[in-house]
Symmetry: C2
């Protein structure tokens, strides 16, 4: 246990500022290094208006229909964890990226990179788990690919899923649409996924079992949209946690965001684990939660709709959008002070998804 | 050189029959082991009519449009090779999978799994190469993802691209549509990609430079379709080569296929390299060639259309579809004998794409 705490403390120590000539683990963290990589390498190369929106999904026009299109690779370690496995996570993650654009998820692809020597039974279990997750969510896995790399050139199994969804008429969600006065909602307790993975990976024992919140959010989203409320933007706060998601929205919309610490729902056991490990739940990954930015007059209708769905029963209003400090997220703490909530720097927890 | 030949001889030796309890390199070869993996693990898990067609792309209905959707991960080694790199290959490969369904490729996703320590300049060069390939082909990279794994848990860089295309009205290509009497065409010389990768990887020196044929085939395909000819099916013979592609078509359509050895175009230098290394060009990967199965009355029109395009200038009729020996591919050799052309067993050349 002492060993585990030490190894985690190492992870949390800020990495030195980005050495720009090699890839660091932190470039995959979803925080400032990831943002720098996108800004400095991928955007200059691929620059086009659709990609430039930097939402979790591209919205493209095909033959008069608005399609959402997204991709995600999954490298989570370990492959199996309380509340899910890499297979269900790969299905939920891509469904959620589609749903955050307001799209009805329709079709997924599944591409596997296997390391030579992977037990076939493990692959069978994971494929089965993907099937179950897709079936439960009402999406079809329609195309796939398998590659095998030599022992030592991979790590058991990586999965990529891409997804296609259909965006209903009138729906227009984007991280660029937050306005001063808007309300910030979260659909439930934060940090559950990251702490579950960490506990499993490091063999930590807690009084209560930590479980990932991995879940498909598209039905919750469709119920929120059905209220007809003015929803500006939705995001699932995965890698980098709530802090990174809100910082991205604040920067993209050029607005400030003010959180109220005591309103942010965190499970007692997750709060305890975070305190013990020196982690801030705002930076810990979620896989079954969403953040919504909603016009003030719509907030209560959207909140009620969320709370009626099992995946939103702990939904809360956690803050608001303001004109002050554009691009910055701040938080009124329980002590009554205010602090800046930065984007994650370096790598807090590598390979969390 | 002797060393290289020995190591290649090892690769070519048939692996023992599939040990069914772990993943082997050959499960990624595109041959019999790949087919067994799909048949025994993925199809039973994901079973649905779209996936069950086992074409290179799924054709799905969205809002009245027929979309092609496909995914491919690229693990080629080395990352840079004569005629291309992993970036251009990842763009061409997915464009070609869409094109083989008759679709006009529209949008690509790009997902990167980076190994910690990858030189940033290498990533920049590869992103640039993807951009150039996409731009030249008229497709947009609209969404992406980046993950980073620890040193030793990956191998520099893996790329997944998924793609969306639009299938024009009236186009219906599938490996299940070959009929006895149909003609088999190939768009040019075979084996170029596999031999170029192998030469680069093993440091083999030949009199002339071996170059990958990696190229986007969608314009060639659209020109073939524009003839209005009865084209049953198109496939790009990548991993597993022409033999595996034709075996798949023969099995899916429950027909026999008869090739004529002297009609199969192979560059002199590729033929020489294959002879020296004990490889059969029919099993070597291509990345800029297609196989078309065409109704007999349409063959000459399609052949002429192919030969007018630079990527099809060496196109040839190489065989025909027959009623005899359904599921089997045979070849009339230069010696006048006939032999069975099996699907690739084991792994001839791992990590070729």
């Amino acid at each position: 246990m002492a060993e585990a705490v030490k190894s985690i403390a190492n992870l949390v120590c800020p990495t030195p500022m980005p050495v720009r000539d090699t890839v660091l683990l932190g470039h995959g963290s979803g925080g400032t290094l990831s943002a720098a990589l996108i800004r400095e390498v991928f955007l200059p190369a691929f620059q086009n208006p659709v990609l430039g929106r930097l939402d979790d999904q591209a919205i493209v026009q095909v033959n008069g229909s608005r399609l959402a299109f997204t991709t995600d690779s999954f490298v989570v370690k370990p492959l199996f964890f309380p509340g899910g496995d890499i297979g269900s996570l790969a299905v939920h993650g891509t469904i959620n990226d589609l749903a955050m654009g307001g799209a009805k998820p329709l079709f997924l692809s599944a591409a596997f990179i296997l390391e030579e020597g992977l037990p076939m039974d493990m692959l069978r279990r994971i494929a089965q788990s993907m099937r179950d997750a897709a079936q439960a969510a009402g999406v079809l896995i329609v195309t796939g690919d398998t590659k095998v790399v030599e022992r030592g050139s991979g790590d058991q199994l990586f999965i990529n899923t891409a997804g296609i969804g259909l965006v209903p008429d009138g729906v227009d969600l984007s991280a660029s649409r937050a306005c001063p006065g808007d309300v910030v909602l979260v659909s439930g307790t934060i940090g559950d996924h990251g702490i579950a993975i960490l506990a499993q990976r490091e063999g930590l024992e807690f009084d209560s079992r930590m479980e990932s919140d991995s879940a498909p959010l598209h039905v919750l989203v469709s119920e929120m949209l059905a209220t007809g409320a003015e929803i500006r933007c939705m995001r699932d706060p995965t890698r980098g946690g709530v802090s990174s998601t809100l910082n991205e929205i604040a920067q993209t919309s050029k607005v400030g965001i003010e959180l109220v610490e005591r309103e942010i729902p965190v499970r007692e056991e997750v709060r305890g684990a975070c305190e013990m490990l020196g982690l801030d739940p705002l930076y810990v990954a979620n896989e079954g939660k969403l953040i919504a930015i909603v016009a003030p007059e719509s907030a209560s209708a959207v909140l009620s709709a969320m709370q009626r769905n099992a995946l939103g029963k702990n939904a809360r209003i956690i803050g608001k959008v303001c004109e002050a400090h554009p691009g910055l997220v701040t938080m009124r703490t329980d002590l009554g002070t205010s602090r800046i909530v930065d984007m994650l720097a370096g790598d807090q927890l590598p390979r969390i998804c």
